[in-house]
Symmetry: C2
Amino acid sequence: MGILERKEKQREEIRKMILEASMQLFVKEGFENVSIRKIADLIEYSPTTLYIYFKDKNEILFHLCEMGFERMIASNLALIQIENPIDRLYLLGENYINFGLENPEYYDLMFIQNAPMKTVREQNVGYWPNGDIALETLKLIIQECMDKKLIQSGDVATISMAVWAVAHGLVSLAIRQRLERLVEPDKVVQSMHESIRWMINTLKKA
Amino acid sequence: MGILERKEKQREEIRKMILEASMQLFVKEGFENVSIRKIADLIEYSPTTLYIYFKDKNEILFHLCEMGFERMIASNLALIQIENPIDRLYLLGENYINFGLENPEYYDLMFIQNAPMKTVREQNVGYWPNGDIALETLKLIIQECMDKKLIQSGDVATISMAVWAVAHGLVSLAIRQRLERLVEPDKVVQSMHESIRWMINTLKKA
DNA sequence: AAAAATAATGAACAGTGTTAATAAATTGCG
DNA sequence: CGCAATTTATTAACACTGTTCATTATTTTT
């Protein structure tokens, strides 16, 4: 059935077109300015056509979210070269903060917005492949730190949660303009890095 | 000029009416379901009338946000009875988490949404009275801990930032359904409390 | 070639925040 | 008091939003 295959390929190509147009709008005009009609305009289709290829807007946002994770995962490529897991954890944290500050729109979708998670939950088992990969990276590093007795042992998930919470707390408060209420605006980024460094240092000592 | 005074009072009363109707919708139907038209319907005014009393929707959301902070500050009343600043910090953290989990809609407005901060920035000097009070509470406790040599000394703002980041990271990831990707859903709340406890314990030791 | 399936669309629904023009009520003043 | 000025409230409209339905056009299958 070569025809069915080719049809499937065509379908996938249009899906890709839609997602690429969405991403273009997304990075240029920001999350709030992505609308079905604007995407449709960009690829010169009618708005209703998008609903043939995606269930709803949430599903499109979900895929953009996954693309964001791909970028983040790619930015973590340098990690494998670092043998000391604590140093690796430190770089992971730095990367996380930098990614969030440099790609606030992606960060929003990946860690703040509800929309993509709605699609995740709608899928049979909670399909969030790239998101899960990113979390797995963190857990693996924490686990290795424990195995090598570099940090106190405990529940991996809970410690991972604490580390994630610091990093996410910093980034999300920063991109939502809350941190500049605590430190002067031009010192926010510096303080964020100090905080994450402090966090990992205390992990070491503990 | 008693008439002008009374007029001002009337004006203030209608503003209150609008805010109370907004809050009613807000706590019952959630943040996303508060619309100018629904508020207007509830108080039996036309939608455009609201624009006589508030500049825009952001300004209404800003006031709801401030009301959220009032609730949060009220829930911290028990703090003053605790003499040990570390214990006080611990209760502050617990209160913060509980408040966030019990009032996710308020929490959203106070710490996640952009809308209220837009109004804050539009005002002359960045008017965020209740938000600033809440942050001041945290800073004062941290300062007292340092003064009494209960935690290592350093930049108060930066340490406060780290503490806030953990708490906010936990709550915001929780209410945005991200934490259940790391620990089983029924253990999320427990792990959150463990994380904040761990955080303050390591602060103590450091 | 006719029938069935797929793809695409225009029109419409029910909503959103916001503004301009207009009507109604209230207040200030001679 | 009566008239003008101001304040308050409303209706209509603009320019959007996500989404659905009925209809048309295209393609595939029989």
